[in-house]
Symmetry: C2
Subunit: 362 residues, 2 copies
């Protein structure tokens, strides 16, 4: 059992909303057009808004609800919700309804958001870094569990193969090798030591190990992510997550921030440190705590790198220029002397061009 | 003036909805959690659903509406709408609210669809071929007009540069050269004749002319598309749309289907015919008329091609396998003897892998 929410928006002259006669005509017009496609439309409530607009709710057959509001600014919204696996209207009929209402009420603008599919076993709505909504062509939910750290999902799509989704944000798909490749920045890792902060999907660890590094340490907090990627995303992680200790690598299930602090205390060093944790915050205005965390990680990392050592970080999509600027500012204000470069790549399953930074300790 | 619609969905045991005591507790729990973040929540209506569920509408300060429904199946939905340019809640607060409601009512599943931005000057919600919703990072609406044929928009984004949008479906962006390249199928067009059905963005015409063809005829019905692409999408069309007649090309503003019929009557031939019109229908079940149109175009085209001539067509995204199969079936059932190949490419602004066919007349 699921339901569908269809949203329609129109712009009319504000006088149509505030004039009682024009407003009554508008009601009638919308009722007429919507009533022609929604059987058994019955007005349930009609209410005036304090600002001078109106709000109406209708019920209809088969647990269908129609809400219709007019706002003093001239905005008119129509929302149709119907329950059940089947849509009340085909998408083409929704587009047609938008056109008919627009013509009938003389709106100078109209927009239909086709039925949002809610309450289904398959969740297809995920977000970009800048919190834009994307509906993926999800064929199957392979794994879905709320861990103590996050909501972990693995879904299968036609476009991107299997995708790891964390807290509603697509994290990595089988088609995103370009992500790992760009994060690695074309360096030669042979004989080098590296620390991966996060990286639970195993993609970076897998690619680094192909280059015969001296030693790679990976610190990922959520063992469920490791377990499910090992099971379902072997196209990304290969057999790297099969055991937590190898000749030249070690996977630690733990807090990457604490590991950094401990490393500073214990005087460890790494040639490369990778930030492969959750995204940095979307903007500098919000999430001061998160930005302070990024700053701490940068500072701690710098003290673990030798001169010439590098901090490699994915940062954010190009749609968050403020976040990119804030990251650059943090780097430029580091007490250690550094130089920075950046690179970008369109990551298919992110559906966005993503920006990566390389910070060299001078 | 605009407004935001936030959608939250939960799954609980069906008994909680149908049992009056449990249901009353559920109301109270949701009211309590939502009331903590939505100031001045006042119950406007409470109604029972014929199936045994309930429907409630609340108003709150600043023209905020909260709708809360429970359905016998155990589905619980919460919708929050607030008017004004600013959000009632930051996205992070919405995610937090989802978690709090989920915990409070003991839901075994929860989902938040972050605020949909409605009624704004900038339209950012467009669709994939299979009618999935994508929110683009639109910076600016450059052109927006309803022509006698379609709704034409040109918008500017960070990821894809400028995008031509037709009837809400992204059509072509400045970053989609791969589309035109794959449609052209690696053929050598030097000294050849070609007919483009549609192609109003000018991309295909521009690329063909670079190969010194004998003659290219393009038939596009919507002069507004040509005019706006000439103005805004020169990265795609170059100067090809600046005049409608050249030494070795001609742009006809007219109906491509009629032009095909006339060509059959008048005995014209072309070495290549390109289908660069709107997408084929999403599935074979619907839009029988549209499929018949595709069939007619295929048949007419075959009679205009010499032996060895080719019909080149974009068809559909990989997320519409039924449409791809239907297209193959139509080709295989053509009266003319043909052979077919296909190719595919991930088209950045489509955010989808797209499939193209090449049909050779034997």
């Amino acid at each position: 059992m699921s339901f569908n929410t269809t949203l329609l928006d129109f712009s009319v002259a504000p006088e149509i909303i505030t004039n009682p006669v024009a407003s009554a005509t508008l009601h009638q017009q919308v009722e007429e057009v919507v009533g022609a496609v929604v059987p058994g439309l019955t007005r349930l409530i009609e209410d005036l808004l304090p600002s001078g607009g109106f709000h109406m709710t209708y019920t209809a057959e088969n647990e269908t609800f129609v809400t219709f509001r007019g706002h003093r600014s001239g905005l008119v919204s129509v929302q149709i919700e119907n329950y059940g696996e089947t849509f009340l209207m085909e998408n083409r009929a929704v587009v047609e309804l938008e056109k008919r209402i627009r013509a009938k009420i003389g709106a100078h603008r109209g927009k239909a958001i086709l039925p949002l599919k809610r309450g289904r076993d398959i969740d297809s709505y995920f977000y970009t870094s800048d919190e834009r909504l994307l509906e993926y062509g999800v064929l199957e939910t392979i794994f879905d569990e709320v861990t103590p750290y996050q909501h972990v999902q693995v879904v299968r799509t036609r476009d991107f193969g299997k995708i790891l989704v964390l807290d509603g944000f697509h994290n990595m798909s089988e088609k995103d090798f370009i992500y790992t490749e760009t994060l690695m920045g074309g360096e030669n890792y042979e004989g080098k030591t590296a620390l991966i902060l996060g990286g639970g999907d195993g993609g970076l660890l897998c690619e680094l190990l192909k280059q015969n590094p001296k030693f790679v340490t990976m610190v990922e907090i959520d063992e469920v992510v490791i377990r499910e990627c090992r099971k379902h995303l072997r196209a990304i992680c290969g057999d790297c997550l099969d055991k937590f200790d190898g000749d030249n690598y070690k996977i630690i299930v733990g807090d990457a921030f604490q590991y950094l602090k401990d490393s500073v205390q214990e005087g460890r060093t790494f040639d490369y440190i990778f930030y492969d944790l959750s995204d940095v915050p979307v903007s500098p205005r919000h999430d001061r705590d998160l930005w302070n965390m990024v700053k701490d990680v940068l500072q701690d990392s710098m003290s673990l790198l030798p001169a010439g050592g590098k901090y490699m970080s994915h940062v954010m999509g190009v749609n968050c220029p403020e976040a990119l600027e804030e990251f650059e500012r943090l780097v430029d204000e580091l007490p250690a002397k550094t130089s920075r470069t950046s690179s970008s790549a369109y990551v298919p399953s992110f559906m966005e061009t993503w920006v990566f930074y390389q910070v060299t300790k001078c």
